[in-house]
Amino acid sequence: MSNNIISRRALLQTAAVGAAGAAIWLRPWTSARAAELTVGIVYVGARDDFGWNQAHAVAIKSLKEVPGVKVVEEENVPETDAVSKSMESMINLDGAGLILATSFGYYSPFVVDLAKKYPAVQFRHAAPLWNKDKDPKNAGSYFGYLNQAHYIDGVAAGLSTKTNKIGFVAAKPIASVLSNINSVLLGARSVNRQAMVQVIFTGDWSMPVREAEAANALVDAGCDVITCHVDGPKVVIETAEKRGAKTCGHNASQAPLAPKGFITGGEYKWETIYKGYAAELAAGKTLPNFTAGGYEADFVRNSAFGAGCSEEGKKAAMAAIEGLRAKKPIYAGPLKDNKGKVVIDKTYDNLDPFLDKMDYLLEGVIGSTT
């Protein structure tokens, strides 16, 4: 009987001590866990698309090496409530504290609604859509001015072309695409006054057949350098390489696709932004709601020069990169559009919002937005 009581008491005591011990032992463990950050990223396409998604996936790979950061990735997530559920699943099942939504159509209503539902989680979206008056404070936008890297493409291409004609396969005539086309022209003209850019619009972001036709048509029209702004540049670059034309890439490195003709290409450097976010969260700071920049902020870069780039092209491109880092303006006005109207009245800073409303092709570009 007494044995029983003692053993019961002993049991209770042991349990209490054990629980306290466990609590003490657990405390550093839980706080260490809390300091860890899980980043969830969703892509609309495949991570190895040689384009937009790959650019993000490359950056995420380097984020994985940062200590204390865990990354969960999901690809081929359509712009429907599927993305909403994927992000929610990352929050609920993986404990994600930062969500990176990388496709344009994810933002409204999905990111906005989810940010309201989970105020403790940070959401950042890769397009300049965050509205400080309407949208939740735990959401935000980030993007890079890729036209600066396309300007460098233009410089290198301008000194690598023999026919002085650069072909550009473009998706839609919207501001960001037009700015890339115009920047290629201005880059090429800065080193080669005879350079022209001929553009063909395919009408949509991913039209592989039309992209191949456009690349062929541009080579037939005498362009000996081909570049593009479409979701997945693979088809354009491969078609041009097969036709013996040189190429400049877009979004991610397409150098492996064109061993003979690759010059360089405009690439995003999302890892600067992603590592910045991780560092700020680790330091307990609030993330900025709006992050944007180009070479001056190290948000864009150019692919390593390929076999298609001339020596003087390399030199001029390196010098031009230094210029952009020092914020040298690309759009030095006044500039006319290709119908003869003055559209840029003065010199604008590279990040000036005036340029975000661009709806014209500059003089020297063959093609029409309509």
Partner: protein
């Protein structure tokens, strides 16, 4: 379906007490064989996983956790299955009358677009409930009209309904794109062409206590109602006779043309309703995201359910669960998204192959 008819019409004298047990045996065949097929598909998939050096056990655990294991996961699964239930009905109903229609995607997209377009003048003027009813009716009528075209072309001109419904899908998407990028474009949304948003006050909310929208419940109810229509009414009987033998139905004086158009229109209305829910419960506006492939996945679901409306919900939920879990599998196991497609493909092929097994096992034969 023909199997069921044969079983029911077989003139066999069975003792009254034996009827229950023998029917039970032959019905069990339709449950056991698909389940075995799914297990076989999983086993094949396990071999595939071992081949790429991943653990099948972990995979099954993740599918359970990501698709069904938590309240959140289960709701995720049900939400994803909702459009599939409706688009599967859009394939299953014409199949009962012997038509293979694969144009649910077009009816969904157009139905959703018209629902959003109807809302534009009503938002802010009419109260939400009548607006939503008008939107739903507009979406269903549009979808019904769109698929009805295929039915009409079939019986009036002999146009193959599989081809015409597929081609009309592309026309439907193009019509939506034309309006969304042109006359009905919301100019405040410069980079993604969409119609004006209907606003949160006019959105269909979730079923109370869940995060699943009402489309799921409507899908279940429609499955049940359409099951009754196809198996318990003269309309359904006439449709099944037409599906079983077109010439015999004509010879019997059945209104074959009207039946075909009616079944096609019902199918289109189901897809149109799915489009309405995509707009009113998910997107809040019409844009290119409506064409997300639900119409095409619905074809798979309908075939796996053997075009039986009552079997569609569990099959759709299974699909929804696999897709919902697919995300977790990608994230935890570092597998590409295509992995889940491999599994879906295996399930589909093995289930279709298992069709040949019906009637081959004596254990399922009714005993006299």
């Amino acid at each position: 379906m023909s199997d069921v008819n044969l079983a029911q019409s077989a003139p066999r004298v069975i003792a009254p007490t034996a009827i229950g047990s023998s029917r039970w045996r032959s019905d069990a065949e339709y449950v056991v064989i698909p389940l075995l097929a799914i297990v076989a598909a999983f086993l094949l998939f396990a071999v595939f996983l071992l081949g790429v050096g991943k653990s099948p056990v972990e995979f099954v655990q993740l599918v359970w956790r990501g698709g069904f294991g938590t309240t959140f996961s289960l709701q995720n699964t049900l939400q994803r299955s909702s459009p599939l239930i409706l688009t599967a009905l859009a394939v299953a109903i014409p199949a009962r009358i012997g038509l293979i229609m694969i144009g649910g995607e077009g009816a969904l997209v157009l139905g959703g677009f018209v629902a959003a377009a109807v809302a534009i003048p009503l938002v802010g003027v009419a109260p939400p409930m009548p607006t939503l009813i008008a939107m739903a009716l507009a979406g269903m009528l549009t979808g019904g009209f769109w698929m009805g075209i295929c039915g009409f072309l079939r019986c009036a001109r002999g146009v193959n309904e599989t081809i015409s419904s597929l081609l009309l899908t592309y026309i439907g998407v193009a019509i939506m794109n034309f309006f969304v990028e042109g006359p009905l474009r919301d100019l405040s949304n410069p980079n993604k062409p969409s119609t004006m948003p209907i606003g949160s006050a006019y959105m269909v909310g979730p079923i109370p206590g869940t995060s699943v929208h009402w489309g799921f419940l409507f899908g279940l109810v429609l499955c049940f109602l359409l099951y009754l229509l196809m198996s318990r009414t003269t309309f359904g009987f006439a449709a099944r006779v037409t599906g079983g033998n077109f010439r015999a139905a004509l010879a019997q004086g059945l209104p074959v043309g009207k039946l075909i158009v009616a079944c096609s229109a019902i199918a289109g209305a189901c897809a149109g309703l799915a489009g309405f829910f995509e707009v009113a419960a998910i997107q809040g506006r019409a844009n290119a995201s409506l064409a997300a492939g639900y119409g095409f996945t619905g074809i798979l679901v309908a075939f796996l359910a053997r075009h039986n409306p009552l079997v569609i919900p569990p099959v759709a939920i299974m699909f929804g669960g696999i897709v919902a879990a697919g995300g977790l599998v990608q994230r935890r196991m570092g597998l590409p998204d295509a992995t889940v497609q491999v599994l879906e493909g295996l399930i589909f092929v093995v289930l279709l192959t298992s069709e040949t097994l019906y009637g081959r096992f004596s254990i399922f034969k009714p005993r006299a």
